[in-house]
Amino acid sequence: MTETIELALKTLEDQLNQPLEAAFEACARCGICAEACHYYRAEPKVEHVPAYRAEQLRSVYRYEHDFLSRLFPLWTRSKKLDERTLVNLTEMAFSQCTLCRRCTVNCPLGVDTPLMMRAIRAMASAAGTAPEILVILADSAIEKGKDPSFYKEMFLEQIKEMEEQLRDITGDPSATIPVEKQGAKILYVPLAGAHTILPPAVVFNAAKEDWTLSIFEAANYGVFLADMKRAKEVAKRIVDEANRLGVQEIVIAECGHAYASYRWDVPNWFAGEFNFKVRSLVEVIAEYIADGKIKVDPTVIPEAVTYHDSCNLARSGGLIEEPRFVLKNVVSDFREMTPNKAEALCCGGGGGLVALAEYAERRIAAGKPKADQIKNTGARVVVAACENCRLQIGDLNEHYNLNVRITALTDLVVRAMRLPKPLPGTEAEHLFEGEMAAVAKD
């Protein structure tokens, strides 16, 4: 047995807890999960049935853990893990599953297939077969955390410029973008790019919130790798920052995986050191609107608007009603996709796939059901509260000629706030026009 295989099998053993064993053992191979998967919907073949994908790892698990399978491997098609199988498993887990959990919701036995796909990703990360770009992105975030001074000065310069822009847009000379403000109530963690800083800054200032901007980004590529060590190191930067500043709450930008991990996983990774409330920016905005802290006018946005439920926000995050509450207050023609909420279709961009250029064709093909769904709403604007979803829908827009504009929820909120000056011809205008998905992609 090679070292790679040994590492992969050891990782599988380390992961093997009750939920994972239940996922391995409960499947009846009824195949009822087929249409739950957007890959299968786009290209109906048995290899795209979630149960089939899960079987690829199950066969390895059975060989290691089931005595009948060891005695008669053909009886349960069990197999010993080898290099070739590991490569195939890796490719499948990173390119044919977005970890959207739609199959789990649709399984009569509740089999958690994404948990098995995560186990494969963890095995691949440990064995060194995971996609390199994800490893590089995770490692660069970790490095950034080790020595933030390296880029901090430049970051602060950018924030200063953005602050000028903010004052111009809002007409409020006292509007600020505080960074590293000791004792602030909220630590807002953005993504890379002004488009996740400026619109939220408008909202926070209008609501007179006591907030501060994180110097780090919310994205965590360690999560996509299912590499606990890396994921934890990336998250630690923000946990340490929150502890250092003494904030009460961490608010995550419109980002699916970042929200799901900081809200539901990170508190477990840092038990004892994690004494903050975690909310998505979407929840905070919903609260501001409900409490009358910001005023919005839905007549500003007369276009038909639809909302895409990010799988990480909705199915894995429980953020279902909040974005709808916001949208119903900021647009006059809101249209639901069908199906939606917990049953929403994945756009195909999750699980880190947007970052994996080698699987772009597959990703766009698997997004066809979402493209059809968008088309059927007749909406001209698609709102997604997740950066990866926006990037993917942007690609679908182009590929399937959807002729829609894709925007973040906060951008629409800012538009509905009737600011005195939307500043034509600036980047901010693009923000308000929902063009940022394309800008960020470039």
Partner: protein
Amino acid sequence: MLIAQLLALAGLIIGLSGIIRRYTETKRRAVPADSSPVKGDIPNGIRYAFTTGMMPWAKESTRLHMIAYLRGIGFHIGIFAAIGAVIISPFWGYLPSLLSWSLFWVLTLGAILGAAGGIMRIAEHNLRGLSLPDDHFAVWLTTLFITVAGLAVLNEAFMIPMYIVSAITFAYIPLGKIRHCLYFFFSRIFFGKFFGRRAVFSHGVSHREAVK
């Protein structure tokens, strides 16, 4: 007859011991601690997983495959009825005729639905691709089990075959695919905990409640 009954009893003991062993082994594995603040209601999530969430209309998949799903439900009802029937078989003589006939029809329906499942596994493209030899064996074994139990309810001549098939079926439960009957409970509990904690199925929560 006594030997056949003892065989069935031995099969039942083997099967039960195997399942208990699997249960204790699985319970020995860790359950990840979750200290993230609960948004929804975990007990409600578990309740949903075993009740409303199992309804044929609760999921897109079962709405799309309503007939296949109901076939599966009917088949499983048949299996559990057959297990019950075998266990109480020494007392069949005391059953009122209406109950005997009801049992017979439940078992007959279960057997037909089981056979349909077995045929579907061969005939349907996806199912054929997904099925292992173990799956084919399990569905036909349990179908045979229900069939002989049904026949035995009608005709005493099938009592010995029923006990023999029961012995094989019971003993096979922990060995092959049929053991999913145990893991179903684990799986649905974890399902309920996960989605209950995160309030994913909290339909009917008002916007105001959701916001707060």
